[in-house]
Amino acid sequence: MNAHAIAGLVALNLLLLAVGVSILFALRGWASWGQLLRLSGVAYLLGVAATGVVWTFELVVGIPFGFPAIIGTGAILALLAVPVGYRLGHRLPRLPRLRVKPELPRLSLVSAVFAALTVVYLEGAFRAARLAGLYEFDAWAFWVPKAKAIYYFGGFDQQFFRELINQAYPPLVPVLEAAAFYFMGAPDVVTLHLQFWFLLVGFVGAVVGLLSGRVSPVFVWPPLLLMLVAPHVGGHFYHPTADFLLDEFFAVAALLIALWLIDRKDWQLVAAGLLLAAAMSTKREGYAFAASAIVAALVVTTRERRSAWPKLIAIGLAAAATTVPWRVLLAVRHLGGGGPEAGGTGLFSNLDRAWPSLRLALSTVFDYHLWLVVTPLAVVAIVAAFAAGARTLPLYTTLVYVFAVIAFTYSTWAFPSLGISKKPALNPIVRLSGEVVLLTPALVPLLLARAWRRAPQPVGDT
């Protein structure tokens, strides 16, 4: 653990940000440099998603992983994205003139207080991540060993990946960790935790950037800070596993879909699709999460199905298609697809697990000692938005949450070897339920704004 390793991680994340900025330029451009700054969190996550998906594809087809592949992929993505942006009519705004005194963007006192608290939290989180050891079982048992194998062997070594547990888990996180090892100069499994701090910062920036100006800061910041200080978030976000990254991708994707339901800007849907593709390449649950958001959006757009459904379905299918190469590799190598132990009709032979599984799922998402009152806040926001006469957003949010609980229930019900327990060694339900918790600061501000009888405002040309 040293300054050199930290500097390496900073460089890697600047690369990911640069790729993401170019993708953002292709998708929507920006009217001002302040707007780009506001959307830099989204850009960063898009960069992580795009490079992660392409790196995974390259490894599947046998391109050796190393600095040339890491940097070359980023450069190619950027070089492809920028002309697309120009072709779509996006142009860079003028650079601010040096002689003119730059004017600070407006920041309300409420935003300032909560932003200050969030900054202090993230600084504390940096310290926690920087000093963290590799103690999480899943991290040292297979996530990080996979990353080390990619780092040392330059690819998905056939024998090594066969010997590990959970071979069929999607590889985006180990690939990202291997890239981090290259930039750190060594497989430094302590400093590696900082990479997950960068991802959390990107997530916070994305949520704030997408909502600020559109929704009152009173509705944006408190749910975000509440989520951050939840005991399970503070104690686990930096573990080098896939759970939080999956939730971060999904929450921002679900927010972009919600914004698309308001604005109908195509870039929001394409960006959501890219993040959903990354979610599916991060963990198998990504498929269920992505389906939940797409189906929820399909339900609430039933009236406009002719115009909305083709886009939603196309985005969902395109996102899922990006994972086909990995599934093909699993099939070619005769590795298990990682399906449920008792899926399909197996559920009926385990009917006695249905109710305990549902009860476990609900008690986990509402567990105060894990998540404080994040989920109750979401319920209150949904009810308030319905009471205020809104339909589309609260129904969309309700469906996403209900589908999430169904998925959590299924995850216990369809795996009879899992205990009906919140203990991480017996059941991954706590890690799964992070989806709902990270979703809350993304969607609740829109609902609260609607409940306040003020429709969320479009920002600029979003």
Partner: protein, 118 residues
């Protein structure tokens, strides 16, 4: 200070103030090998340790000396931090440990009383 600058100043103050406050209390302490040694201060599972060594040859040399001066039951054990120690296990009380340490000093050996690794 203008109304536009004040909120930003607040954020900046928090961003700078917190790390300064933290670092002023000292830089982070990373565990060192010396942290593996917990000196016994009351009765418990106590080891009488005749030294910690990086190399096995050094540990074996010390063990020969210790055995030669009458401390039967001494042996080489890992200290859990990548080093070896020459040790007499199984001392239950601090009083017995102190008696053993005094006996060792009388024959020219230095002993520390440490809690046994869990």
């Amino acid at each position: 200070m203008s109304r536009r600058v004040a909120p930003w100043a607040l954020v900046l103050a928090a961003a700078i103030g917190y790390p300064i406050g933290v670092v002023s209390a000292g830089t982070p302490h990373f565990p060192e090998r010396s942290d593996c040694v917990e000196l016994a201060k009351k009765d418990g599972e106590i080891d009488a340790v005749f030294g910690h060594f990086d190399r096995r040859a050094d540990a074996e040399a010390r063990l020969r000396v210790v055995l030669g001066r009458g401390f039967k039951g001494s042996e080489i054990a890992s200290d859990g931090c990548g080093r070896l120690k020459v040790v007499v296990h199984g001392i239950r009380t601090l009083a017995v440990g102190r008696e053993l340490a005094a006996e060792a000093r009388s024959v020219g050996l230095q002993v520390t009383l440490e809690y046994a690794a869990p």
